[in-house]
Amino acid sequence: MDALGASVSAPTEHPFSGAAEARWVAPGRLVEASRVLREAGYFFESMTCVDRIAAHGVFELIYTFNRWEAASRVAFRVWAPATEPVPSISGVFGAANWNEREAWEFYGLAFSGHPNLTWLLLPEGTEFHPLLKSFTAPPASSYDDSLTAPPPPDDAHPPAHH
């Protein structure tokens, strides 16, 4: 994993277990680093966003990659400022497309260079981010469940025989 270059110094002591290597990556180097893994034969395993806004004002993004042959998990930990978009790696790993959309809708974290950053699991037009620690309940007006269908035409109730 020398090709990944030097690791960013750890911004927190929070330990990570369950991976052969957990490495802090700067947001700017994310695409480059994941391309190194892609070319080394790793597959995209998972991506997690953790809300650390209250304590640090950032989101912690955890990407894990693994290998089919001789499994060894590599975790990328990214300390992403809440206001700045993170570079999308959907061009490197197809799986990132949906995972980034999920992070966007659930946390409001933007990804730059994403081809289709829109709602995935939540209804289109949802304006709140439910996995934020600050989230409590959706505002009462967020869902419009009333179907605004046109009034049924005469056809819907065929008249009896004339």
């Binding site: 597959f43 395993e45 894990t64 799986a95 995935l120 209804p123 439910p130």
Partner: protein, 376 residues
Amino acid sequence: MRTHPPTTDPLDTYTLNMGPQHPSTHGVLRLLLTLRGEEIVTAEPVIGYSHRAHEKMAENRTYAQFLPNTSRQDYLSGMIYNFAWVEAVEKMAGIPVPERALVARVILAEFNRIASHLLWIGAFLLDLGAPTPFLYCWDDREAILFLLESVTGSRLTYASGRFGGLARDLDADFPRRAREVIAKLRARWPEYDRLIEDNVIFRNRAIGVGVLTRDQCRSYGVTGPTLRGSGVPYDVRKAEPYGAYPRFEFDIPTRPEGDVFARYWVRVQEMRQSVRIIEQALDQLPGGPFLEPGSIGVKKRLKLPVGTQYYAVESARGHYGILLVSEGGAEPYRAKFRTPSYPNLAVLTEAMPGTLVADAVAILGSTDLVMPEVDR
């Protein structure tokens, strides 16, 4: 398969909204198909119809309270998900597990895997228009569900794992009943082979259809039987052995073609390997306690040390990962569930274009999706 050059001309194509209410979308998946005649130009899965925010629920419940949620992510192999949660917490908290519970978990999980694969074979053949295998598979699966019910008390959504063991012990008669079920399964296999695998129509529908290349699998993180049908012998039970799996002998069936038939074949062979594991486990089932004496169980509030941990198991559908973030509280700070159906569905946007509507149904069926697991 492709007979015309790809087109996006709106006058040449039309949109077919397949689902969320459709007999073959296995729950509530919506496929936005752009078709030219019957040929698929683009396919876009629209998901989220059964999103229940399991990850948010996890942040608001204690580790024990979250137990029943796990088997509701994938209700077809809920036992495996349930044990995965229990094992992830045990590993992080350092809770010892008695030998008997470890082996019993393997037995129950493998039975659950077979039940899941049986249901899949039935539902898949139903997608291909053959209703009869469904009822045969259902009959076999019923025998397994009876067996699991006798141990756990539930048929589908199990919550039988406990931190440090199991909720209930396997009774003295269990090995006999388990072997009876195995004998029943074994007797049916040649019949399935003749009815399904040797059928010329099935072969025509399945061979060469919906090929997933290794590179597509790598890019999307496809795992499980879907990946093994593309010739990659990756199985978490072997790659990162957990629980009592290292002590049992079994093979990873793979097939290089990557088509629908390969995925079918791999699952059929996997059931045989699962039976192999169960038989070894029944032979080696140790005595002793089924729950660590003085263990935490579900009653006391369990607190995990500060840290992040990734834990993976092999579910019936593939690599199921749990990423747990603890800040030392009684509830997880963050729990991420990396469910196998999610990437297995995402990759279909690349596998479907160029096939026909009938193939779309076959391809969708062959990846063994469970929509609540995709949506969580």
